[in-house]
Subunit: 245 residues, 2 copies
Protein backbone atom coordinates (compact mmCIF):
# COMPACT_ATOMS: atom_id res chain seq x y z
CA UNK A 1 0.00 0.00 0.00
CA UNK A 2 0.96 3.65 0.13
CA UNK A 3 0.09 6.85 1.90
CA UNK A 4 0.40 10.29 0.30
CA UNK A 5 -1.08 13.63 1.32
CA UNK A 6 -1.20 16.92 -0.57
CA UNK A 7 -2.17 19.93 1.52
CA UNK A 8 -3.17 23.35 0.23
CA UNK A 9 -2.22 26.22 2.52
CA UNK A 10 -2.47 29.93 1.90
CA UNK A 11 1.31 30.11 1.85
CA UNK A 12 1.83 27.17 -0.47
CA UNK A 13 1.45 23.45 -1.11
CA UNK A 14 2.79 20.69 1.09
CA UNK A 15 3.36 17.19 -0.27
CA UNK A 16 4.29 14.12 1.73
CA UNK A 17 4.52 10.50 0.58
CA UNK A 18 5.82 7.28 2.03
CA UNK A 19 8.10 5.01 0.02
CA UNK A 20 6.97 1.50 0.89
CA UNK A 21 5.61 -0.82 -1.76
CA UNK A 22 4.53 -4.33 -1.08
CA UNK A 23 3.38 -7.32 -3.05
CA UNK A 24 2.06 -9.26 -0.10
CA UNK A 25 3.70 -8.67 3.25
CA UNK A 26 6.93 -10.49 2.44
CA UNK A 27 7.95 -8.53 -0.62
CA UNK A 28 8.50 -5.02 0.62
CA UNK A 29 10.62 -2.50 -1.23
CA UNK A 30 11.42 1.19 -1.17
CA UNK A 31 10.23 3.13 -4.21
CA UNK A 32 9.90 6.84 -4.69
CA UNK A 33 6.28 7.93 -5.11
CA UNK A 34 6.90 11.68 -5.34
CA UNK A 35 8.12 13.30 -8.55
CA UNK A 36 9.00 16.86 -9.54
CA UNK A 37 9.17 18.92 -12.71
CA UNK A 38 10.49 22.45 -12.55
CA UNK A 39 11.21 25.32 -14.94
CA UNK A 40 12.58 27.93 -12.59
CA UNK A 41 10.65 31.16 -12.66
CA UNK A 42 7.93 29.60 -14.76
CA UNK A 43 6.47 26.45 -13.19
CA UNK A 44 6.82 23.81 -10.50
CA UNK A 45 4.83 20.57 -10.61
CA UNK A 46 4.76 17.83 -7.99
CA UNK A 47 3.09 14.47 -8.47
CA UNK A 48 2.45 11.62 -6.02
CA UNK A 49 1.19 8.16 -6.91
CA UNK A 50 -0.73 5.31 -5.26
CA UNK A 51 -1.77 2.02 -6.80
CA UNK A 52 -0.22 -0.49 -9.17
CA UNK A 53 3.51 0.31 -9.22
CA UNK A 54 4.00 -0.75 -12.84
CA UNK A 55 1.19 1.60 -13.86
CA UNK A 56 2.45 4.58 -11.87
CA UNK A 57 6.05 4.09 -13.04
CA UNK A 58 4.89 3.93 -16.66
CA UNK A 59 2.86 7.11 -16.18
CA UNK A 60 5.83 8.95 -14.70
CA UNK A 61 8.15 7.65 -17.44
CA UNK A 62 5.79 8.83 -20.15
CA UNK A 63 5.37 12.22 -18.51
CA UNK A 64 9.15 12.41 -18.21
CA UNK A 65 9.77 11.57 -21.84
CA UNK A 66 7.28 14.17 -22.84
CA UNK A 67 8.87 16.74 -20.54
CA UNK A 68 12.27 16.64 -22.28
CA UNK A 69 13.59 19.80 -23.96
CA UNK A 70 11.38 20.79 -26.87
CA UNK A 71 13.58 19.33 -29.64
CA UNK A 72 13.76 15.86 -28.04
CA UNK A 73 10.24 15.34 -26.84
CA UNK A 74 6.92 14.44 -28.29
CA UNK A 75 3.87 16.51 -27.47
CA UNK A 76 1.86 17.06 -25.39
CA UNK A 77 4.13 17.93 -22.46
CA UNK A 78 3.34 18.96 -18.90
CA UNK A 79 6.22 21.43 -19.27
CA UNK A 80 4.34 23.21 -22.04
CA UNK A 81 0.78 22.96 -20.76
CA UNK A 82 -0.46 26.54 -20.36
CA UNK A 83 -2.07 25.98 -16.93
CA UNK A 84 -2.21 23.58 -13.98
CA UNK A 85 -5.64 22.54 -15.20
CA UNK A 86 -4.10 21.39 -18.48
CA UNK A 87 -1.30 19.68 -16.55
CA UNK A 88 -3.93 17.73 -14.60
CA UNK A 89 -5.67 16.82 -17.88
CA UNK A 90 -2.43 15.49 -19.33
CA UNK A 91 -1.70 13.49 -16.20
CA UNK A 92 -5.24 12.07 -16.28
CA UNK A 93 -5.00 11.14 -19.95
CA UNK A 94 -1.63 9.48 -19.43
CA UNK A 95 -2.92 7.52 -16.45
CA UNK A 96 -6.02 6.33 -18.29
CA UNK A 97 -3.94 5.42 -21.36
CA UNK A 98 -1.57 3.22 -19.33
CA UNK A 99 -4.37 1.50 -17.41
CA UNK A 100 -6.35 0.79 -20.60
CA UNK A 101 -3.21 -0.49 -22.36
CA UNK A 102 -2.34 -2.82 -19.48
CA UNK A 103 -5.82 -4.22 -19.10
CA UNK A 104 -6.28 -4.68 -22.87
CA UNK A 105 -2.97 -6.55 -23.12
CA UNK A 106 -3.91 -8.77 -20.20
CA UNK A 107 -7.56 -9.27 -21.02
CA UNK A 108 -8.42 -8.19 -17.50
CA UNK A 109 -10.51 -5.40 -16.06
CA UNK A 110 -8.63 -2.20 -15.22
CA UNK A 111 -9.01 -2.83 -11.50
CA UNK A 112 -5.74 -4.74 -11.16
CA UNK A 113 -3.75 -1.98 -12.87
CA UNK A 114 -5.51 0.89 -11.20
CA UNK A 115 -3.77 3.90 -9.69
CA UNK A 116 -4.57 7.32 -8.29
CA UNK A 117 -2.48 10.47 -8.47
CA UNK A 118 -2.19 13.75 -6.62
CA UNK A 119 -0.70 16.52 -8.75
CA UNK A 120 -0.18 20.12 -7.72
CA UNK A 121 1.91 23.17 -8.36
CA UNK A 122 1.76 26.44 -10.20
CA UNK A 123 2.26 27.69 -13.74
CA UNK A 124 3.04 31.40 -14.27
CA UNK A 125 -0.16 33.28 -15.05
CA UNK A 126 -2.26 31.16 -12.69
CA UNK A 127 -2.71 30.36 -9.00
CA UNK A 128 -1.25 27.40 -7.15
CA UNK A 129 -3.57 24.43 -7.62
CA UNK A 130 -3.91 20.92 -6.29
CA UNK A 131 -5.72 18.03 -8.03
CA UNK A 132 -6.71 14.46 -7.31
CA UNK A 133 -6.63 12.39 -10.51
CA UNK A 134 -8.74 9.22 -10.75
CA UNK A 135 -7.90 6.05 -12.72
CA UNK A 136 -10.59 7.06 -15.23
CA UNK A 137 -8.50 10.13 -16.08
CA UNK A 138 -10.90 12.68 -14.60
CA UNK A 139 -9.98 14.75 -11.57
CA UNK A 140 -11.16 17.07 -8.80
CA UNK A 141 -9.52 20.18 -7.41
CA UNK A 142 -8.81 21.12 -3.81
CA UNK A 143 -10.83 24.05 -2.51
CA UNK A 144 -11.41 25.89 0.75
CA UNK A 145 -13.95 23.20 1.65
CA UNK A 146 -11.68 20.31 0.74
CA UNK A 147 -8.20 21.68 1.24
CA UNK A 148 -6.29 18.40 1.17
CA UNK A 149 -6.20 15.10 -0.69
CA UNK A 150 -5.06 11.73 0.55
CA UNK A 151 -4.39 8.64 -1.55
CA UNK A 152 -3.55 5.05 -0.61
CA UNK A 153 -4.11 4.00 2.99
CA UNK A 154 -6.03 7.15 3.91
CA UNK A 155 -8.25 6.33 6.85
CA UNK A 156 -5.96 6.01 9.86
CA UNK A 157 -4.39 9.41 9.27
CA UNK A 158 -7.55 11.34 8.48
CA UNK A 159 -8.92 12.19 11.96
CA UNK A 160 -5.91 14.32 12.94
CA UNK A 161 -5.91 16.11 9.55
CA UNK A 162 -9.60 16.91 9.88
CA UNK A 163 -9.09 18.34 13.33
CA UNK A 164 -5.82 20.26 13.15
CA UNK A 165 -5.63 21.57 9.56
CA UNK A 166 -5.74 25.34 9.25
CA UNK A 167 -5.22 27.13 5.90
CA UNK A 168 -3.13 29.80 7.63
CA UNK A 169 -0.76 27.37 9.32
CA UNK A 170 3.00 27.67 8.81
CA UNK A 171 5.01 25.17 6.77
CA UNK A 172 6.66 24.07 10.02
CA UNK A 173 3.27 23.25 11.58
CA UNK A 174 2.03 21.63 8.38
CA UNK A 175 5.00 19.26 8.30
CA UNK A 176 4.37 18.44 11.94
CA UNK A 177 0.71 17.74 11.14
CA UNK A 178 1.56 15.50 8.19
CA UNK A 179 4.16 13.61 10.22
CA UNK A 180 1.52 12.94 12.90
CA UNK A 181 -0.92 11.76 10.24
CA UNK A 182 1.74 9.46 8.79
CA UNK A 183 2.73 8.25 12.24
CA UNK A 184 -0.88 7.26 13.05
CA UNK A 185 -0.97 5.32 9.78
CA UNK A 186 2.41 3.67 10.20
CA UNK A 187 1.58 2.59 13.77
CA UNK A 188 -1.64 0.94 12.56
CA UNK A 189 -0.67 -0.49 9.18
CA UNK A 190 2.37 -2.49 8.10
CA UNK A 191 2.09 -1.53 4.46
CA UNK A 192 3.03 2.11 5.01
CA UNK A 193 6.57 2.91 6.14
CA UNK A 194 9.47 5.31 6.38
CA UNK A 195 11.37 6.93 4.71
CA UNK A 196 9.01 9.77 3.82
CA UNK A 197 9.47 12.28 1.01
CA UNK A 198 8.57 15.91 1.60
CA UNK A 199 8.18 18.89 -0.71
CA UNK A 200 7.13 22.41 0.28
CA UNK A 201 6.08 24.59 -2.63
CA UNK A 202 5.92 28.30 -1.78
CA UNK A 203 3.00 30.05 -3.51
CA UNK A 204 4.12 32.31 -6.39
CA UNK A 205 7.65 30.96 -6.10
CA UNK A 206 7.50 29.22 -9.50
CA UNK A 207 10.27 26.89 -8.41
CA UNK A 208 10.64 23.81 -6.25
CA UNK A 209 10.91 24.57 -2.56
CA UNK A 210 12.41 22.63 0.31
CA UNK A 211 12.73 18.91 -0.43
CA UNK A 212 13.61 16.45 2.28
CA UNK A 213 13.74 12.72 2.77
CA UNK A 214 12.82 11.76 6.33
CA UNK A 215 14.71 8.56 7.03
CA UNK A 216 14.01 5.78 9.50
CA UNK A 217 15.33 6.99 12.86
CA UNK A 218 15.02 10.70 12.00
CA UNK A 219 15.43 12.37 15.43
CA UNK A 220 12.61 14.89 14.92
CA UNK A 221 10.20 12.21 13.71
CA UNK A 222 11.08 9.95 16.63
CA UNK A 223 10.62 12.76 19.16
CA UNK A 224 7.33 13.72 17.60
CA UNK A 225 6.07 10.14 17.49
CA UNK A 226 6.82 9.36 21.12
CA UNK A 227 5.84 12.85 22.27
CA UNK A 228 2.50 12.50 20.51
CA UNK A 229 1.80 9.15 22.16
CA UNK A 230 2.44 10.76 25.53
CA UNK A 231 0.39 13.84 24.66
CA UNK A 232 -2.55 11.68 23.55
CA UNK A 233 -2.39 9.64 26.75
CA UNK A 234 -2.26 12.85 28.80
CA UNK A 235 -5.16 14.36 26.89
CA UNK A 236 -7.06 11.10 27.35
CA UNK A 237 -6.45 11.15 31.10
CA UNK A 238 -7.62 14.76 31.33
CA UNK A 239 -10.93 14.01 29.63
CA UNK A 240 -13.71 13.28 32.15
CA UNK A 241 -14.49 9.56 32.64
CA UNK A 242 -17.91 8.24 31.68
CA UNK A 243 -20.25 8.07 34.63
CA UNK A 244 -21.88 4.69 35.22
CA UNK A 245 -24.25 5.93 37.89
Amino acid sequence: MTYCVGLKLNRGLVFMSDTRTNAGVDNISVFRKMFHWEAEGERSITLMTAGNLATTQAVVSLLNERALPAEERGSPSIMEAPSMFQVARLVGETLREIIQEQSAENGQSGEAFSATIIVGGQVRGGDQRLFLVYPEGNFVEASADTPFFQIGETKYGKPILVRAYDPDMSFEDAVKLLMLSFDSTIKANLSVGLPLDLHLYEADGFRDGVKRRIEQGDPFYETLSSGWSEALKDAFQRMPPYSLT
Copy 2:
Protein backbone atom coordinates in the same frame (compact mmCIF):
# COMPACT_ATOMS: atom_id res chain seq x y z
CA MET B 1 -21.34 0.62 7.07
CA THR B 2 -20.98 -0.11 10.75
CA TYR B 3 -18.50 0.25 13.54
CA CYS B 4 -18.34 -2.13 16.50
CA VAL B 5 -15.61 -2.69 19.08
CA GLY B 6 -15.23 -5.41 21.69
CA LEU B 7 -12.62 -4.75 24.34
CA LYS B 8 -11.22 -7.25 26.80
CA LEU B 9 -10.21 -5.76 30.15
CA ASN B 10 -9.09 -7.52 33.28
CA ARG B 11 -12.29 -6.42 34.97
CA GLY B 12 -14.60 -7.45 32.16
CA LEU B 13 -15.69 -7.03 28.57
CA VAL B 14 -16.80 -3.79 26.96
CA PHE B 15 -18.96 -3.77 23.84
CA MET B 16 -19.91 -0.75 21.77
CA SER B 17 -21.70 -0.62 18.43
CA ASP B 18 -23.22 2.07 16.27
CA THR B 19 -26.71 1.67 14.85
CA ARG B 20 -26.50 3.16 11.38
CA THR B 21 -27.13 1.05 8.33
CA ASN B 22 -27.03 2.37 4.83
CA ALA B 23 -27.78 1.14 1.35
CA GLY B 24 -26.09 3.97 -0.48
CA VAL B 25 -25.93 7.33 1.26
CA ASP B 26 -29.60 8.18 0.79
CA ASN B 27 -31.11 5.15 2.48
CA ILE B 28 -29.97 5.38 6.07
CA SER B 29 -31.75 3.63 8.91
CA VAL B 30 -31.25 2.82 12.56
CA PHE B 31 -30.87 -0.88 13.35
CA ARG B 32 -29.62 -2.53 16.47
CA LYS B 33 -26.35 -4.40 15.91
CA MET B 34 -25.80 -5.53 19.49
CA PHE B 35 -27.65 -8.52 20.95
CA HIS B 36 -27.69 -10.20 24.34
CA TRP B 37 -28.50 -13.61 25.76
CA GLU B 38 -28.46 -14.11 29.49
CA ALA B 39 -29.15 -16.89 31.98
CA GLU B 40 -28.54 -15.11 35.24
CA GLY B 41 -25.91 -16.78 37.38
CA GLU B 42 -24.93 -19.06 34.53
CA ARG B 43 -24.03 -17.17 31.36
CA SER B 44 -24.05 -13.83 29.57
CA ILE B 45 -23.39 -13.61 25.83
CA THR B 46 -23.13 -10.44 23.75
CA LEU B 47 -22.95 -10.40 19.97
CA MET B 48 -22.29 -7.55 17.53
CA THR B 49 -22.63 -7.71 13.77
CA ALA B 50 -21.22 -5.99 10.69
CA GLY B 51 -22.00 -6.68 7.06
CA ASN B 52 -25.09 -7.57 5.07
CA LEU B 53 -28.04 -6.66 7.30
CA ALA B 54 -30.28 -9.44 5.96
CA THR B 55 -27.56 -11.96 6.77
CA THR B 56 -26.89 -10.67 10.27
CA GLN B 57 -30.60 -10.43 11.12
CA ALA B 58 -31.14 -13.99 9.92
CA VAL B 59 -28.22 -15.18 12.03
CA VAL B 60 -29.58 -13.46 15.13
CA SER B 61 -33.10 -14.78 14.47
CA LEU B 62 -31.81 -18.32 14.13
CA LEU B 63 -29.71 -17.99 17.28
CA ASN B 64 -32.77 -16.59 19.04
CA GLU B 65 -35.05 -19.40 17.95
CA ARG B 66 -32.49 -21.89 19.12
CA ALA B 67 -32.12 -20.08 22.44
CA LEU B 68 -35.77 -20.54 23.45
CA PRO B 69 -36.61 -22.60 26.55
CA ALA B 70 -35.59 -26.22 26.06
CA GLU B 71 -39.06 -27.57 25.21
CA GLU B 72 -39.64 -25.02 22.40
CA ARG B 73 -36.29 -24.88 20.70
CA GLY B 74 -34.33 -26.98 18.32
CA SER B 75 -30.75 -27.85 19.13
CA PRO B 76 -28.02 -26.77 19.14
CA SER B 77 -28.46 -23.67 21.29
CA ILE B 78 -26.03 -21.04 22.46
CA MET B 79 -27.87 -21.17 25.79
CA GLU B 80 -26.84 -24.80 26.19
CA ALA B 81 -23.34 -24.72 24.73
CA PRO B 82 -21.00 -25.84 27.52
CA SER B 83 -18.39 -23.11 26.92
CA MET B 84 -17.81 -19.79 25.18
CA PHE B 85 -15.69 -21.66 22.65
CA GLN B 86 -18.72 -23.78 21.74
CA VAL B 87 -20.87 -20.63 21.61
CA ALA B 88 -18.42 -19.13 19.09
CA ARG B 89 -18.56 -22.36 17.07
CA LEU B 90 -22.35 -22.24 16.94
CA VAL B 91 -22.32 -18.59 15.93
CA GLY B 92 -19.75 -19.35 13.21
CA GLU B 93 -21.76 -22.30 11.90
CA THR B 94 -24.96 -20.28 11.83
CA LEU B 95 -23.25 -17.41 10.03
CA ARG B 96 -21.71 -19.69 7.41
CA GLU B 97 -25.03 -21.50 6.95
CA ILE B 98 -26.92 -18.26 6.24
CA ILE B 99 -24.28 -16.92 3.86
CA GLN B 100 -24.11 -20.20 1.92
CA GLU B 101 -27.90 -20.41 1.75
CA GLN B 102 -28.21 -16.83 0.47
CA SER B 103 -25.51 -17.19 -2.15
CA ALA B 104 -26.79 -20.59 -3.32
CA GLU B 105 -30.31 -19.21 -3.73
CA ASN B 106 -29.01 -16.20 -5.64
CA GLY B 107 -26.36 -17.95 -7.69
CA GLN B 108 -23.85 -15.38 -6.53
CA SER B 109 -20.63 -15.61 -4.62
CA GLY B 110 -20.91 -15.21 -0.85
CA GLU B 111 -19.24 -11.79 -0.98
CA ALA B 112 -22.51 -9.86 -1.31
CA PHE B 113 -24.04 -11.61 1.69
CA SER B 114 -20.95 -11.52 3.83
CA ALA B 115 -20.88 -10.49 7.48
CA THR B 116 -18.54 -10.52 10.46
CA ILE B 117 -19.42 -10.97 14.12
CA ILE B 118 -17.88 -10.21 17.49
CA VAL B 119 -19.15 -12.48 20.24
CA GLY B 120 -18.05 -12.47 23.85
CA GLY B 121 -19.15 -13.29 27.34
CA GLN B 122 -18.76 -15.97 29.93
CA VAL B 123 -20.25 -19.37 30.71
CA ARG B 124 -19.97 -20.70 34.25
CA GLY B 125 -16.98 -22.99 34.54
CA GLY B 126 -14.86 -20.91 32.18
CA ASP B 127 -13.21 -17.51 31.86
CA GLN B 128 -14.65 -14.49 30.07
CA ARG B 129 -13.76 -14.77 26.38
CA LEU B 130 -14.02 -12.60 23.30
CA PHE B 131 -14.10 -13.89 19.69
CA LEU B 132 -14.06 -12.48 16.18
CA VAL B 133 -16.10 -14.72 13.85
CA TYR B 134 -15.40 -14.65 10.10
CA PRO B 135 -17.91 -15.18 7.28
CA GLU B 136 -16.32 -18.59 6.70
CA GLY B 137 -17.49 -19.60 10.17
CA ASN B 138 -14.05 -19.83 11.72
CA PHE B 139 -12.92 -17.45 14.45
CA VAL B 140 -10.05 -16.05 16.49
CA GLU B 141 -9.92 -15.21 20.18
CA ALA B 142 -8.75 -12.01 21.87
CA SER B 143 -5.57 -12.38 23.90
CA ALA B 144 -3.17 -10.19 25.82
CA ASP B 145 -1.45 -9.37 22.52
CA THR B 146 -4.70 -8.59 20.70
CA PRO B 147 -7.03 -7.44 23.43
CA PHE B 148 -9.71 -5.92 21.23
CA PHE B 149 -11.57 -6.58 18.00
CA GLN B 150 -13.12 -4.07 15.62
CA ILE B 151 -15.52 -4.82 12.77
CA GLY B 152 -16.97 -2.60 10.07
CA GLU B 153 -15.35 0.77 9.46
CA THR B 154 -12.33 0.03 11.65
CA LYS B 155 -9.48 2.23 10.49
CA TYR B 156 -10.31 5.76 11.61
CA GLY B 157 -10.81 4.71 15.20
CA LYS B 158 -7.84 2.39 15.53
CA PRO B 159 -4.98 4.84 16.30
CA ILE B 160 -6.50 6.01 19.60
CA LEU B 161 -7.33 2.43 20.65
CA VAL B 162 -3.77 1.31 19.93
CA ARG B 163 -2.36 4.16 21.97
CA ALA B 164 -4.63 4.44 25.00
CA TYR B 165 -5.85 0.88 25.69
CA ASP B 166 -4.70 -0.58 28.99
CA PRO B 167 -5.96 -3.95 30.29
CA ASP B 168 -6.19 -2.53 33.81
CA MET B 169 -8.31 0.47 32.86
CA SER B 170 -11.64 1.11 34.56
CA PHE B 171 -14.98 0.66 32.79
CA GLU B 172 -15.42 4.45 32.99
CA ASP B 173 -12.14 5.01 31.13
CA ALA B 174 -12.88 2.24 28.66
CA VAL B 175 -16.20 3.82 27.71
CA LYS B 176 -14.42 7.15 27.30
CA LEU B 177 -11.83 5.47 25.05
CA LEU B 178 -14.47 3.77 22.93
CA MET B 179 -16.46 6.99 22.60
CA LEU B 180 -13.33 8.76 21.34
CA SER B 181 -12.68 5.96 18.88
CA PHE B 182 -16.27 6.19 17.65
CA ASP B 183 -16.10 9.97 17.51
CA SER B 184 -12.99 9.84 15.29
CA THR B 185 -14.85 7.47 13.00
CA ILE B 186 -18.10 9.42 12.94
CA LYS B 187 -16.26 12.69 12.23
CA ALA B 188 -14.51 11.10 9.23
CA ASN B 189 -17.18 8.79 7.80
CA LEU B 190 -20.85 9.39 7.05
CA SER B 191 -21.79 5.74 7.21
CA VAL B 192 -21.23 5.42 10.97
CA GLY B 193 -23.53 7.33 13.31
CA LEU B 194 -25.17 7.74 16.68
CA PRO B 195 -26.99 6.35 18.63
CA LEU B 196 -24.45 3.94 20.11
CA ASP B 197 -25.19 0.80 22.10
CA LEU B 198 -23.05 -0.05 25.08
CA HIS B 199 -22.75 -3.15 27.24
CA LEU B 200 -20.33 -3.64 30.13
CA TYR B 201 -19.95 -7.26 31.21
CA GLU B 202 -18.29 -7.64 34.60
CA ALA B 203 -15.97 -10.67 34.74
CA ASP B 204 -17.39 -13.57 36.77
CA GLY B 205 -20.74 -11.78 37.03
CA PHE B 206 -22.52 -14.37 34.86
CA ARG B 207 -25.19 -11.82 34.06
CA ASP B 208 -25.59 -8.81 31.80
CA GLY B 209 -24.05 -5.65 33.18
CA VAL B 210 -24.75 -1.99 32.49
CA LYS B 211 -26.51 -1.45 29.15
CA ARG B 212 -26.93 2.00 27.71
CA ARG B 213 -28.01 3.61 24.50
CA ILE B 214 -26.07 6.81 23.83
CA GLU B 215 -28.39 9.01 21.81
CA GLN B 216 -27.65 11.85 19.43
CA GLY B 217 -27.04 14.91 21.58
CA ASP B 218 -25.96 12.91 24.67
CA PRO B 219 -24.38 15.61 26.87
CA PHE B 220 -21.38 13.51 27.90
CA TYR B 221 -20.66 12.46 24.33
CA GLU B 222 -20.94 16.06 23.12
CA THR B 223 -18.62 17.34 25.86
CA LEU B 224 -16.14 14.59 25.15
CA SER B 225 -16.21 15.18 21.41
CA SER B 226 -15.63 18.92 21.58
CA GLY B 227 -13.21 18.59 24.50
CA TRP B 228 -11.19 16.05 22.56
CA SER B 229 -10.98 18.31 19.52
CA GLU B 230 -9.64 21.07 21.77
CA ALA B 231 -7.26 18.70 23.56
CA LEU B 232 -5.88 17.43 20.24
CA LYS B 233 -5.37 20.97 18.99
CA ASP B 234 -3.64 21.89 22.25
CA ALA B 235 -1.45 18.80 22.13
CA PHE B 236 -0.66 19.61 18.50
CA GLN B 237 0.37 23.15 19.40
CA ARG B 238 2.60 21.90 22.20
CA MET B 239 4.52 19.55 19.89
CA PRO B 240 7.69 21.19 18.52
CA PRO B 241 7.35 22.51 14.94
CA TYR B 242 9.46 20.97 12.20
CA SER B 243 12.63 22.95 11.55
CA LEU B 244 13.17 23.98 7.94
CA THR B 245 16.69 25.28 8.50
